[in-house]
């Protein structure tokens, strides 16, 4: 790669996505919509390859920082490229590319008109850019701005369908998400007042020297962060907006939101807690225990809510609440296996839930049936779609050889290392409940005879390729997690401040 590009690659990924986002309507106007679509997918693939390149650099040569505009840290904004960012960039690219590829086939039909579809592409690219930005930034205020861009973009892609239900869900989402951003901004203000810095490394130095002088203020700031990011990433008691927003949007929007958007906020939370405040301080405060308890509650409660739903997309939405609990449980465990499990789950849940939502959207689109009880025999009509749905389900449950197993195994190891047997029970119980709410879908689809003769056809080839790609990634991560697991482990070690050997 030419020197100028590879040196500035970190910022270029975000800048390229941001700047191409706005030419989508223009491309549609002067050219054809297909050109804009192709270009958008191409940009995402480019972002993915950039992410892979950066992750490889980080794995081999260790973490590095990048000063935006050439201004060094206390004055300028610093991007910090460590294993956390590498892993998240790969996750975003790996999931967003097939989702957009899938969306591109029916997009005009889904959102109403060509110009609306072009704006959808703009919002999609903005959301991806903001998520990449969250992954690489090392500056608190930058986090706030990226969080806001991601929030507004994800609200708008929920409303893309422009019908009464989705607009209502969007408004509810926007209100709660804005309360969340308010809490985040206030918490950033607190940390800024305490330390006089916005750069996370400088805040860490400042706090390490003097946090004992103002433990209450730090505690308040951290709980505001927890509430703010908790609302946005649907941590259990704060999840009320998620089922409506994620189930009423069109399939690609739901897949994008459920798999990636909420993970961006979790990455931001991790960065604030473990980079800005530091593992040393955070593990001494009870906040990690609170996160672990909330995570366990989320696993069980989300799964029970999911069991009660008959609408397929609502069931998947509640399953997200449950799976986010796993990630928070790993953060709460606060040891290396627990955090590795969290990072692996961020990746594997992103891929799996994207696949499940795309498959569910396909079923609903072709058959017009939204309820699981009506889906008798769909498996005979759409064998490929239901086949990848089965792969996603098994991964979500955590069967060995699927990616979900790798992350849940790490979380289990983390719980055992902490001697936390309650969380072992919750982890296993959550998996059993996941089997209870996902396997009936397959049973109805494959083992019940359809009421009438099959009339429904499979999705377009491009959409099948997109879903098969995600299914293959699930199997690849599940069978040989090697490099990804190493990256996740390194990310966990970076957060805990342990020495990372290049």
């Amino acid at each position: 790669m030419p020197g100028a590009i590879s040196e500035n690659l970190a910022v270029l990924i975000v800048v390229a996505l941001l700047s191409t986002a706005y030419i989508m309507p223009l491309l549609t106007k002067i050219g054809r919509f297909r050109v804009a679509e192709f270009f958008a997918v191409f940009m995402l693939a480019l972002a993915l390859s950039g992410g892979v390149y950066l992750a490889r650099e980080i794995l081999h040569n260790g973490a590095f920082t990048y000063a935006v505009g050439g201004w060094p840290a206390p004055w300028g904004i610093e991007l910090s490229l460590d294993a956390v960012s590498g892993l998240f960039l790969i996750t975003v690219g790996l999931v967003a590319t097939p989702i957009l590829l899938y969306a591109s086939v029916d997009l005009v039909q889904d959102v109403g008109s060509r110009s609306r579809a072009a704006w959808f592409l703009t919002l999609f690219l903005l959301l991806v850019a903001a998520l990449c930005g969250l992954g690489i930034t090392g500056d608190l205020f930058n986090i706030y701005v990226m969080v806001e861009v991601a929030t507004i973009a994800s609200c708008a892609i929920v409303a893309a369908q422009n019908d009464a239900t989705s607009v209502e869900a969007t408004f509810k989402y926007l209100m709660l998400a804005t309360i969340g951003s308010g809490f985040v901004l206030l918490a950033i203000g607190f940390l800024f007042v305490l330390t006089g810095n916005l750069n996370m490394n400088f805040i860490a130095q400042e706090l390490a020297a003097s946090w004992q002088n103002y433990p209450t203020a730090l505690w308040v700031s951290l709980s505001f962060f927890m509430v703010g990011f908790g609302v946005k990433s649907a941590l259990f008691p704060l999840h009320v907006w998620l089922p409506d927003a994620h189930s009423s949007a069109i399939a690609p929007s739901s897949a994008m939101l459920s798999s990636l958007a909420i993970k961006g906020y979790i990455i931001a939370l991790l960065k604030v807690f473990y980079v800005a405040v530091g593992a040393e301080i955070i593990t001494r405060l009870p906040i990690t225990n609170i996160l672990a308890v909330l995570g366990m509650l989320a696993i069980i409660a989300g799964a029970l809510f999911a069991l009660a739903q008959d609408e397929l997309k609502r069931r998947l939405a509640f399953s997200t609440v449950s799976q986010v609990g796993y990630i928070f449980l790993g953060i709460g465990l606060g040891n290396i296996q627990g955090l590795t499990g969290s990072f692996m789950h961020i990746l594997s849940h992103a891929i799996t839930k994207a696949l499940l939502f795309l498959a569910a959207g396909s079923i609903i689109k072709r058959t017009g049936k939204t309820r699981i009880s009506e889906m008798a025999g769909v498996g005979f009509e759409m064998p490929v779609t239901l086949g990848v749905f089965a792969v996603g389900s098994l991964s979500m449950i955590g069967i060995p050889l699927f990616s979900g197993f790798v992350s849940k195994w790490q979380l289990l190891l983390g719980s055992l290392a902490r001697g936390n047997y309650l969380s072992v029970i919750v982890l296993v119980g959550g998996s059993l409940l996941a089997a209870a709410y996902l396997l009936p879908v397959l049973r109805t689809a494959f083992f019940e005879r359809p009421v009438q003769n099959p009339v429904v056809t499979e999705m377009a080839y491009v959409q099948l390729v997109a879903m098969l790609f995600l299914a293959v990634v699930i199997l690849m991560v599940g069978v040989s997690p090697g490099v990804v697991l190493q990256l996740a482990k390194q990310a966990a070690m970076t957060l805990l401040g342990l020495e990372v050997l290049p």
């Binding site: 205020f141 706030y144 701005v145 806001e148 507004i152 609200c155 708008a156 409303a159 422009n162 019908d163 009464a164 239900t165 607009v167 209502e168 969007t170 408004f171 926007l174 209100m175 804005t178 309360i179 951003s181 308010g182 901004l185 206030l186 203000g189 800024f192 007042v193 916005l198």
Partner: protein, 131 residues
């Protein structure tokens, strides 16, 4: 107790900011009129501006424009002010988006009251169940 009060009084802008923040959230969560919710958002975001600006303020400080002639001048911290410009931009965009959504909701439901929208939705759902 006396010491705590004097510290609270000394730092009154922060107390004021937190009170406004609570009022904003209360407005968003309790009022069913959608416009009032948007007003609540603006109150809440406004409180964070006060917090940041107060944090950057130096009593007796002047605007941070370097004056070489007078080396004794004290300047206020310019960074929070720059940050809050961004904050204002963000809150204007959120307000614009929510107002756009409210007009759409009005077109769909014919009301801007969250409770009535919920009622219409549940009626629609009940009718759909009967069919």
């Amino acid at each position: 107790m006396g010491e705590l009060w004097s510290r609270v009084l000394q730092n009154y802008p922060y107390v004021f900011a937190l009170a406004l923040f609570a009022i904003g959230i209360y407005t968003i969560l309790t009022h069913s009129n959608l416009f009032k919710k948007v007003i609540g958002i603006n109150i809440m975001e406004g409180s964070t501006y006060i917090l940041f600006i107060a944090a950057g303020n130096v009593r007796g400080g002047v605007a941070p424009i370097l004056d070489m002639g007078d080396p004794g001048l004290v300047y206020v911290h310019p960074l929070p002010q720059a940050l809050m410009l961004t904050g204002i931009v963000v809150s204007v965009s959120v307000t614009a988006l929510s107002l756009a959504l409210i007009t759409k909701l009005y077109r769909f439901y014919g009301t801007v009251d969250a409770k009535e929208i919920m009622k219409i939705r549940s009626e629609v759902r009940a009718n759909a169940g009967r069919d």
